[in-house]
Symmetry: C2
């Protein structure tokens, strides 16, 4: 039988050692599709195995099949961090195994979720009047918000977003059978409000920090339009919302406080392990109207609205514990310090790109994400990216801006230092030099 | 700063000690709504706090606000277990912080998810040809399956289930704007197939193990009907599907192998920490057709379909690691042993009820769930339940069967012994005797 003390000590030591050596591991997994699965038994064991066997296989077999999101040289997509307080809170949450269905099934889960969401609201400088809960991901938050927007505007079946909004908006509209209108962007990849058509629309999804380039849609203009037409405004600040922990950066997000619903993912830029997506609304009663269903086997006399009445799943795990631990163990000051450092590093990298002949910056650097390319064809840039990633020294990803293939360097890992960013730049220039287009 | 080794050792010790004393703690939380939140600071900390402060507050402040799902005398709803291998795998998963978006973002996450789902399929005696993935909860699985069913049957907008199906079917139909037809049940709370109207229906949701009573809808009859009318059959075996680990119990679920989609929650009766819901389908290509969307910033040349193309969220956490650890550390034999013991304990409790004057069994005991009541009014039974739960010695819940208020004793915690079940029965009789109706 697995013992929490002995096997736990071994697991903890493995995890601590992993985080110490993760900088030295190839960032991108080094296996081919199907390779890991082929190396593991195709049938389940009949008899119990010791937990040590799981740990041994993790080290010997799984390790090369991991892409190291915890590496300080992970610069792809949106870089994230599972910080130590968040990791340990997950250990505790699993040990407690709370299942939030009704308030009484875990008052601690529900009240800590409400409290930490209010703490985070304050840290981000959002006004009172936003009620919050947690979801797994921003995809679910956006689906949930658009289901409410559709519910409160019967007959209006269109959603408006920019051509740079996240693919989760497309997916939500498919599920909800809403027409999606994609609005062109300006030279800085921001939705052009003068091209918005709200006829028959139930919602606008504005992005504060697009995945492609970090651009912010014109939030005040869109809020004005939504107010004039009684249309729901959902703001997707999944990545960049965290910047508002720093008062001097709040201007970049000005207008987001006028959203009907708003999503920020602490599992992105706020050091919380996957998954943890914060979803606020100024209209919680509309969520209850859309989702509340209390079958007989869940009826109680408890004087509390349960979180399952404002979201899609009935049961939820104790996600708030890790967010609470992270907010306490970093404090406002600790989070500010790291976000400011990431902003500085992104600016620094952008300066190197701009100063280097043959390289171009492809979008304004609004937050900690830099879009750039090497002169030459799209194919040459794609090959360059492949070579950099194959080196194992850094992992970047790409996007398409103005019809061109563009490289993305996303800074967001709390362990990333200036040396790590410089190393990525060195690798990029080395691979470009060794393999000229 | 939080140190994974030192603070981790303290967290691990707290967790181990918690599981040793959880049997002695009042099962149901002992706080009033709002009490916990009022006892915590209303504003977030400015400066970092040590992780030890989080742990201290967990002990002193959060503990009374927890309902102890890990208690062996938790008999409410569907009883669950977070086993030691599952808990430690969650520690490891949080440390690795894999984010499954594309295959390359974590080959280990994707391939282990596919492998463990195939292991579990084999353990449950399901045929080949079922492709599986993990979701957070059965609510999401049912929503996902019905979205696919709607997609493949354009114009057919009705879903059929029994009046005892889970409320998640109602919620999914609201979100998908499908008409829900609830079919009456027979004397054993099973859907009556002769009353099913499939005109304009895209799906039937059959339940194998209802939440109220554990009843199983007539799966072969419903599969025949669905086949004849080309209607999608979704089988919700969230709780009772685990029983199929024991070959002698598979007859209870016969016909479920004919489902188009099927959900079993390892976080219910298979010792896996919340959340972990296994979702299989025989028609994975229909899922891809419904959900696949690959934006430019996620385009790769990897020869693998990513799990985000068959489910609602884009990103997923490394849930497969805990399922893999649980299946290995228990093995087929370990899981069988515990499920058989739970079946025996439920039968034993039912025998006590039947033998006791003034008490009645209210539904057949199909799996490990017993529905019963004391003679007297509904109000008297409700009061009895409140008194038992207020004692802290056991936690049960209720439902409505044939218009009557009925108590439910659900056995599913791996730490539950015969003594625990006997204690619950003693408390029930004591409270009934001390407060006669």
């Amino acid at each position: 039988m697995t013992g929490l003390r002995d096997d736990g000590a071994a697991a903890l030591e493995w995890a601590a050692a992993y985080l110490e050596r993760v900088r030295e591991l190839p960032v991108l997994a080094t296996v081919e599709p199907g390779q890991l699965r082929a190396s593991l038994p195709a049938v389940p064991p009949d008899e119990p195995e010791p937990f040590a066997a799981v740990l041994a296989d993790l080290e010997s077999t799984l390790l090369p099949a991991l892409t190291h999101w915890q590496s300080p040289r992970f610069f792809a997509y949106i870089a994230t961090t599972a910080s130590e307080p968040g990791i340990l809170a997950e250990l505790l949450a699993a040990s407690l195994n709370q299942v939030g269905i009704l308030w009484r099934t875990s008052p601690a889960l529900q009240e800590l979720e409400e409290l930490t969401l209010d703490w985070l609201r304050q840290l981000l400088g959002l006004p009172e009047g936003f009620a919050g809960h947690l979801e797994d991901t921003a995809s679910t938050a956006t689906l949930t918000a658009l289901a409410v927007a559709r519910h409160v505007a019967p007959g209006r079946r269109a959603v408006v977003c920019s051509e740079h909004a996240h693919s989760s908006v497309d997916k939500a509209c498919r599920i909800l059978e809403l027409e999606l209108r994609k609005v062109p962007v300006d030279a800085s990849f921001r939705m052009r409000p003068e091209l918005v058509d709200l006829d028959g629309a139930c919602a606008v999804v504005a992005v504060a920090g697009t995945t492609s380039s970090g651009s912010v849609d014109p939030l005040h203009d869109l809020a004005d339009l939504c107010a004039a037409h009684d249309v729901w405004l959902h703001v997707d600040a999944a990545y960049a919302g965290a910047a508002a922990v720093c008062p001097e950066l709040r201007g970049l997000l000005a207008g987001w406080e006028r959203a009907d619903s708003l999503v920020v993912n602490p599992h992105k830029w706020l050091a919380t392990p996957m998954d943890c997506s914060a979803h606020w609304t100024r209209r919680p009663e509309d969520y209850v109207r859309t989702f509340s269903l209390v079958p007989e086997y869940l009826r109680t006399t408890d004087a509390a609205t349960s979180l399952s009445e404002v979201s899609i799943p009935l049961g939820r795990r104790f996600r708030a514990l890790k967010l609470w631990a992270v907010l306490r163990c970093f404090g406002r000051a600790g989070l500010q310090e790291r976000i400011r450092e990431h902003m500085r590093l992104a600016r620094l990298f952008a300066d190197w790109v701009e100063a280097e002949p043959g390289w171009t910056l492809c979008a304004p650097v609004t937050f900690s994400l830099v879009c750039f390319r090497r002169e030459g064809s799209d194919a040459a840039n794609e090959l360059l990216l492949d070579r950099v990633n194959a080196s194992g020294e850094a992992f970047l990803s790409h996007t398409q801006l103005d019809g061109s293939y563009v490289l993305r360097l996303a800074i967001g890992n709390f362990r990333t230092t200036e040396d790590d960013v410089r190393r990525a730049w060195d690798v990029l220039r080395r691979e470009a030099r060794d393999h000229p287009a």
